[in-house]
Amino acid sequence: MSIARRRLAAALGALVLLLLPGPATADLSPEERTRILRHGPWPPPWRPDGGNRLSGDPAAAALGRALFFEPRLSADGAVSCATCHRPELAWTDGRTRSVGLAPMDRNAPSLLDARGRRWLGWDGASDSLWAASLRPILEPGEMGGTPGRVAALLREDEHLSALHRALPARAAPEDETGLAVDAAKALAAFQETLVSRRTRFDRLRDGLAAGRPDAAAGYPADALRGLRLFVGRGNCSLCHAGAAFSHGEFEDVGVGYFLERGRVDPGRIGGIDRLRASPFTRLGRWNDGGDARPTRHLVARHRDFGLFRVPSLRGVAATAPYMHDGRIPTLEAVVRHYSEIDEERLHADGSRLVRPLRLSAGEQADLVAFLRTLTPE
């Protein structure tokens, strides 16, 4: 190649770089890069749940799928899991608060990625996916079922009993509770297959991890600004940490805990009570093994009152309305909430993890644009 040609090639190369769609990532600081990389990779490696001997088993997932859409599990024969966790609504019900046999106090979370959670429910009242699947069946205002009703379906319904007989290892003894626990474990095996897809954010993140100069190609410039706020001044990553955008524990962001007529939702402190009162935990006889240490070492403290689990933000654009009681209708309003947070409402003593961020309108829009890139298109 002649010198002139080489110069031309270099100039064209520079032009191509300039024309690449998407914002440049060159001005991200090393600290920002490190923080962004911690939100991946996705999906995370999965290990079966040692507490559920049916975990990861395809035959169990097939039974679980059938049970998930089965209204006969409920007392009135009309409520199934899918009533409140609708596949076409990202496994939520789109309501502020769910309605089963009776109105509930909480918003139905998506079931995507539920397999990775240590604590389930907004108050963490369950310590395994299988226990969190048994609870709604037995809860009087939710499905109002009984172990006897579940057992009868597995024994007598032709289709369900065939699926049940196909399990690799069945409950021993096959009494009513044993069968209901098996149904819950099969429901868990089905929900383990519900994993959220990779997103535009994941492409950016993996590009950065690989050191590609065009990592941000196709990534919106406003979302990149929002991401920098998220891991920076916004302090969002503190709680919405890691690949799942949640550290999995319980915090207070001033949403409030008052329900109508002077009732309150005690949040985590009530969840710990419910967990301890349940025979269906990792410390109980129905559990098959696995790591019970978090349950064993858990402590209840005064400050747990009114705390709720930090929700994952993957897929968040598809799961409005927001917060444990669904009181915030849109992502724009959530970001406004963090911008104007009422410090009087923060009740957990001591810790100061959130403050009003006083974001400009542009910054709020950037943060929303970023949150939208956590949802597959």
């Binding site: 911690r38 240590r118 709680c239 070492h297 402590v299 810790s351 100061r352």
Partner: protein, 133 residues
């Protein structure tokens, strides 16, 4: 041979740098006081956000002083004013060392581990600083 020597020296007379030699070659932290040394090592050796870990702890007397007891152990994030959501269970091993099971650092940032050392009625607090990514 080495093991025998350690048994002979421990706990009263072990030199500060040897304190906790039984904990392993790497990742042993030591806090020196005039009359004793506290050595500890996390297991697994790296603090992983949200993962359960345990600490192994050795207390060694210095300058002829006996080793004090480990009375209490906890951890908190001083900037955030909160501790762990899990209570460590302190227990004593047959060789006189201690272990604290069931600890979880659930948030990234600066944590302080506090060791209350002495007798139940009279303790001194030692503080170790750890960073979690």
């Amino acid at each position: 041979m080495k093991a025998a020597a350690l048994v002979l020296l421990w706990p009263a007379a072990a030199a500060a740098a040897d304190c906790g030699a039984t904990l392993g070659e790497a990742d042993v932290r030591r806090i020196e006081r005039p009359r004793y040394t506290l050595a500890f090592r996390p297991e697994p050796a790296e603090f992983e956000l949200g993962e359960v870990f345990r600490l192994r702890i050795v207390l060694c007397g210095r300058a002829g002083a006996p080793a004090p007891d480990l009375v209490r152990l906890d951890a908190w994030m001083p900037e955030h004013g909160h501790g762990m959501n899990y209570a460590p269970l302190l227990s004593r091993e047959a060789d006189g060392s201690w272990r604290a099971d069931g600890m979880v650092f659930h948030m990234a940032g600066r944590w302080e581990i506090t060791f209350d050392v002495g007798t139940p009625s009279r303790t001194e607090r030692l503080v170790a600083e750890e960073a979690v990514e």
